[in-house]
Amino acid sequence: MRLLRRLAHRPTIIAGIVIVLAFTLVAIFAPLLEPYPTDRPSGEPFEPPSSAHWLGTDDVGVDMLSLTIAGTQNSMLVGFAAAFVAILVGGTVGIIAGYRGGWSETGVVGVTDFFLVIPGLPLMIVLAAIFGQSIYHIVVVIGLLSWMSVSYVVRAQVHTLKVRGFVARSRSLGASDSYIIRRHILPHVAPLLVAQTVLAVAIAVFFEAALAFVGLGDLERISWGTILQQAFQHTAVSAGAWWAIVPPGVCIALVVLGCFLVGQGVEEAMNPRLGHAHVAPRSFARRSTWVEEER
């Protein structure tokens, strides 16, 4: 609760939450919001924005606004689902490794380091090519390649929690490991998990668009990535139809930015030191310039 109150004082976090929430709502109510069908043309090819088509039309005359809204649904779905996979794997691995220590920790650190070295996007491309082009495969591939940072952060946090007094106390009272993890460890890493989830959503949305752009997206579903890819493949560039290119990119950028703001804000609120570290140098910098001007 105290954390929530501290969060409420930060305008950037509020902005981030509003952005993410707005896109989530659009994703949930997408079918109700689309003004035109997305499976057949409702105007001329590459119609510029007008009162009938607010964002114009694409290369076959499908309404861009409807496409963007439909894309929101699948992009956000991929984002949240992949983030869920990443958090589930990373969180479990991180908590167990941090709590148990010993060889399980050594093993986890090794595996994490190994995965961190493997370049993400090329591996995702290869894996997506192996599994085939389905939205579920994309979710799994992105999720399984972005859990490392979660486990890294969670493990470090659990490490410091493990040696705290309340954990030692409940252990001496005979509490089991699973009880300690549930009652003492999880509540303390929960805000961290929230921050990491939000960041993972951003990363997943980003990678979905990248995979779709190299032609590995789900061909059956419209997402921001596939809209961009279609626009690029189907002469939107040479037709100068910027309205077919701009909307999905703006959406991706907004969601990623919103997620960053929220994730960063939660981390800062949890670690207030981050917000204060600069106080001294700032006054120093100011004063010394002032002294120089005096001379």
């Binding site: 380091d113 190994f114 070295v117 493997i118 370049p119 996007l121 090329p122 591996l123 491309i125 290869v126 090519a129 192996i130 951003a202 980003f206 668009a209 990248a210 752009f213 190299v214 032609g215 590995l216 961009l228 626009a231 690029f232 560039v237 040479s238 100068g240 910027w242 290119i245 701009v246 999905p248 990119g249 991706i252 950028a253 907004l254 990623v256 930015l257 960053f260 703001l261 570290a277 600069h278 106080v279 001294a280 140098p281 700032r282 120093f284 910098a285 010394s288 310039t289 120089e292």
Partner: protein
């Protein structure tokens, strides 16, 4: 050690791919099974996996990455040629991003909390959040006609001198390199800013202030020296990433580098090529990480102990 793991990992990974070269070539109708087996034997695909693995390791040591299914040329040569195309384009972009990002990050930290700082942080975050391919397409639309937007050189140059070729290359490089710079500059500005802020609060910086050193010396020689470590780490990570990171940029600008080769190899089911690229990228990331560790140890001797 990690390099060996990566090599083995890529072997397993690429054996798991569905279909092999033969399924692709043997799409020819009415192909007799003997011919199919002959091709299979030619590529060594008829041997058991363990033999293939040993052979793979042995050949790899000798620098043999096999033949590309698409061009039937040695993979190593193909990959190296693509790398040669990628490095100048992405390298220039990355170096500019590191330099500009550092300068801007330091100046934002110095003026922490002011309008300028907020403007810099805001811009950096927005650039950081932009989808790479989207930014590239927008630049493509904006500069179509002004600058070349596709490929690496002009095929219609007649009997060009060295300087025209160089100029032509540079003109082709402007847009893709600019995208690379814009995309990674944000993270450098943000990281340098925050590490510089932290360093400005350290005791030795305070001491330097107390001694009456000027601003320039305090910022660059005292504070930036401490803030250098995260910058070095990020730089080596980025440079390792750089070789792979051109994938989206190269796709948009049809730049014949490693990234475009990856996409083409996926499309053409060219597994030896894909494997070669993947190995090369992984090893370069490992190499740059190692370089980062070494530099870290040089800059901060405490790390070694």
């Amino acid at each position: 050690m990690i390099a060996f793991l990566a090599i083995s990992f890529s072997f397993v990974l690429f054996r798991a791919l569905p279909g092999d070269a033969v399924t692709n070539i043997s799409r020819v109708p009415n192909m007799p099974p003997e011919a199919r087996e002959a091709i299979r034997a030619e590529f060594g695909l008829d041997k058991p996996l363990s033999t293939q693995y040993v052979l793979y390791l042995k050949e790899l040591v000798q620098g043999n990455l096999g033949l590309s299914f698409q061009t039937r040329q040695p993979v190593l040569g193909e990959v190296l040629e693509r790398v040669r195309n990628t490095i100048p384009m992405v390298g220039v972009g990355a170096v500019v991003a590191i330099l500009v990002g550092t300068l801007i990050g330091v100046s934002a930290a110095y003026r922490q909390g002011t309008v300028r700082d907020r403007a810099i942080t805001g811009t950096a975050m927005v650039l950081y959040a932009l989808p790479v391919q989207w930014l590239a397409i927008l630049l493509l639309v904006a500069f179509a006609g002004v600058l070349p937007t596709s490929g690496m050189s002009d095929p219609y140059l007649v009997d060009p001198s060295f300087w025209t070729v160089l100029l032509d290359r540079l003109r082709h490089m402007v847009l893709p390199s600019a995208v690379v710079t814009l995309v990674i500059f944000g993270s450098f500005a943000l990281v340098v800013r925050s590490s510089q802020l932290e360093a400005l609060g350290e005791d030795h910086v305070l001491t330097a202030r107390a001694k009456g050193y000027g601003n320039r010396r305090v910022i660059w020689r005292e504070s930036f020296r401490s803030a250098l470590l995260p910058l070095v780490t990020l730089s080596t990570l980025t440079l390792g990433w750089v070789i792979a990171g051109g994938i989206l940029v190269e796709t948009v600008f049809s730049w014949p580098g490693v990234g475009l080769a990856t996409v083409q190899a996926v499309g053409g089911r060219d597994y030896p090529m894909l494997q070669g690229i993947f190995l090369f990228i992984t090893l370069s990331v490992v190499a740059f990480n190692f370089l980062g560790d070494v530099l870290h140890a040089v800059l901060d001797p405490r790390v070694v102990e």
